[in-house]
């Protein structure tokens, strides 16, 4: 297993290297003068010259690349043009919001998706199966941002049940502790004796979680179903049944653990994609995370910020894939015991 993981780690480095290179090229090869584009038409020559110097744009491309690499390796992502803040700082501030949303969306997608997948596999070719799989197909065909807007329209505008965006009721004058608002809500409940922060955090999480989680949910349900169907045909399931193991146990222990292998891969992949999909969802729900920040930075032509955000999310994506790979080999004794 160690060998397997080391192999994966070896792939990690060129991948991150590729990401950084691509992101570097994004500015270097962009048509026109990046400094001018970033500062806009009204900037004067002096400001532009200063930014060029700051970004090293006046040096030859190779040298720029070397500089950029050495900075990124030292985790120095530069300063945001729009705010003048350190980009690493901006990311650190926003990351909890993104990860909190992605986390709940993923739990929602995994739990519901796997349940639906297993159910339709054991009820194969019944109306339960057709409805679930039809729904899942609709789920994967939907644009996330649109789903978000429709949810807002129905639950916030028409029914007036849930907030349209943000993370916390703004009238609460709430100062975050960990920046994970659900945790903060619980902490404040203990400290101040009122569950209102927790309640508000949950209310704000609900719609974005559903919006962000629906596509992975549908994909997980489809994968679980087909994986389950395949596993249920295997001889060892017959063996378990022939030994009198109860059907529930056969399905939820003997079959599911095997069916889990491809599902784990999909879950990991979806979790990674979720972070990039967060650009759309966070934008729709005014969720103050990295995705929305990248969106705003794109609009503001704050290239260093966009670069930093993309490097960060890609790194995270790659790391999640690595984690999933390790988890995969833990669940699969054939790899674990190699």
């Amino acid at each position: 297993m160690i060998k397997h993981i080391l192999k994966r780690l070896a792939l990690l480095i060129p991948t991150l290297f590729g990401v950084i290179t691509l992101v570097f090229l994004m500015i270097a090869l962009a048509p026109g003068d990046p400094a001018r584009i970033m500062l806009g038409e009204r900037a004067n020559a002096e400001q532009i010259a200063q930014l060029r110097a700051e970004l090293g744009l006046d040096k030859p491309l190779i040298q720029q690349y070397g500089l950029y690499l050495s900075r990124v390796v030292r985790l120095d992502l530069g300063k945001s043009i729009a705010t003048g803040q350190q980009i690493a700082r901006e990311i650190a501030d926003r990351f909890p919001a993104t990860i909190e949303l992605a986390w709940y969306a993923m739990i929602f997608a995994t739990v519901v998706g796997m349940f639906l997948g297993v159910t339709s596999a054991i009820r194969r070719n019944t109306w339960v199966d057709y409805t679930t799989m039809g729904g899942a197909l609709v789920g994967v065909s939907m644009p996330v941002f649109w789903l978000g807007l429709v949810l807002i329209m129905v639950f916030s505008v028409w029914l007036n049940l849930l907030p349209t965006g943000g993370r916390m009721n703004i009238r609460y004058y709430f100062t975050p502790i960990t920046n994970f608002y659900v945790i903060d809500g619980i902490l404040l409940w203990i400290r101040e004796g009122t569950p209102k922060y927790l309640w508000s955090a949950i209310q704000h999480l609900l719609l974005p979680t559903i919006a962000l989680g629906t596509i992975p949910l549908a994909i997980i349900a489809r994968t679980t179903r087909s994986s389950m169907l395949e596993v249920l045909q295997q001889d060892y399931i017959k063996t378990a049944r022939s030994a009198g193991i109860r059907e529930k146990r056969v399905i939820y222990r003997y079959a599911l653990k095997n069916a889990l292998l491809p599902v784990i891969t999909v879950i990991g992949l979806q979790f990674g994609l979720l972070l990039s999909g967060a650009i759309l969802t966070e934008t729709v729900f005014s969720w103050p995370g990295i995705g929305r920040w990248i969106y705003i930075s794109i609009g503001a032509r704050d290239y260093p910020a966009v670069q930093g955000g993309i490097i960060f999310i890609s790194t995270f994506f790659v790391l999640i894939n690595l984690a999933v790979d390790i988890l995969y080999s833990v669940v699969n004794p054939k790899i674990r015991l190699q």
């Binding site: 295997q234 001889d235 060892y236 017959k238 063996t239 378990a240 049944r241 022939s242 030994a243 009198g244 193991i245 109860r246 059907e247 146990r249 003997y254 653990k257 095997n258 669940v331 699969n332 004794p333 054939k334 015991l337």
Partner: protein
């Protein structure tokens, strides 16, 4: 065999079909057989003739749907197994009726240790702690002669050899509180010859030790000779001959049985018998099969009648019956 023991399992006129997308497969048609206490009955026939479907019908292991019982009864200790609900049959599985499968490579769950899988059977049927179950499992491993059992229970299937896995399967089938019926569906087909002999010895040994009945499925007449008390020969879903093992080898009366014996390499007795087309022809499509004898298209003795109706039983002796219009010709063969 002095006195006849009581009947443990009795399949009566079982017909079983699969409703597939490409048509109805009549996998088993009008099969009857009895298994007595402590007896080994072998079910022989070539691949696809419905042996497994018959065996799996006993403890409801055929997938239903698409599978369906069209007709028949399976009596076991006074109840018709086919009428049992799922939770009722689940109680019999692994307690009174246990099973060993053909492919030791795929019949054990790859993500659990063999010990855990067997211990789970103990814990399902008998109130035991995990520890007790594991100890019993180790005992069973000793019984089926798995070396270093304390270590082996913690192995995953892929860490064991084919023979070892099959022994583990047998151990699992023995994890029952009382000896009853063991269904062994080609338990040695996937193993090489020496291991095969060991496993068969083990089964024979166990049979005497704990007085269980065995329904042994095989398409290897060598295995039949080694193991069987009685033999049922199947062809394309039909029973074509039934006899004690002695009669099958000495006086086979169905052309197909003769063909099977011919395929035994070591058997010189049948060398000069008329060579059957059984070797060249193929099993008919189970979906389009007609009312006649399914063996007709490959049979060297076929007459016009054979294509029209399936023969009725001809009783040849106390324990020998054949279903063939022209069985008397085979005699001369």
């Amino acid at each position: 065999m002095a006195e006849k023991k009581e009947i443990l399992l009795s399949i009566q006129n079982l017909s079983f079909s699969f409703d597939t997308q490409r048509g109805v497969v009549n996998a088993v048609r009008d099969i009857s057989l009895d298994i007595r206490k402590g007896e080994t009955l072998t079910l022989v026939g070539e691949s696809g003739c419905g042996k497994s479907v018959t065996a799996h019908a006993i403890n409801q292991l055929n997938p239903m749907p698409p599978g369906k019982v069209d007709h028949g009864k399976i009596m076991f200790r006074g109840t018709d197994l086919l009428t049992l609900k799922r939770h009722e049959i689940e109680k019999l599985r692994g307690t009174q009726i246990s099973m060993i499968f053909q492919e030791p490579m795929t019949a054990l769950n790859p993500v659990f240790t063999v010990g855990a899988q067997i211990a789970d059977v103990f814990m399902t049927h008998q109130h035991m702690t995990k520890q007790e179950a594991m100890e019993r499992t180790i005992d069973l491993f000793k019984l089926v002669k798995i070396p270093a059992p304390e270590r082996r229970v913690n192995s995953y299937p892929h860490q064991l050899s084919g023979g070892m896995r099959q022994r583990a399967m047998i151990a699992m089938a023995l994890a029952s509180p009382e000896p009853g019926l063991m269904i062994a569906d080609e338990p040695t087909t996937a193993l090489d010859v020496t291991i095969q002999a060991q496993i068969l010895d083990l089964l024979n040994d166990l049979k005497h030790k704990i007085e269980m009945s065995i329904l042994l499925i095989t398409h290897d007449m060598g295995v039949v000779a080694e193991m069987a008390d009685r033999v049922v020969v199947m062809y394309a879903g039909r029973k074509v001959e039934e006899a004690d093992v002695f009669s099958i080898f000495e006086t086979p009366r169905h052309p197909y049985t003769l063909g099977l014996l011919n395929s035994l390499p070591s058997n010189t007795k049948y060398k000069n018998a008329r060579r059957l087309e059984a070797i060249t022809g193929t099993v008919p499509d189970m979906r389009t099969i007609g009312a006649g004898c399914p063996f007709e298209n490959r049979c060297a003795y076929a007459s016009e009648k054979c294509g029209q109706e399936f023969p009725t039983e001809t009783v040849l002796g106390e324990s020998h019956s054949v279903w063939c219009h022209n069985y008397h010709m085979v005699k001369e063969g």
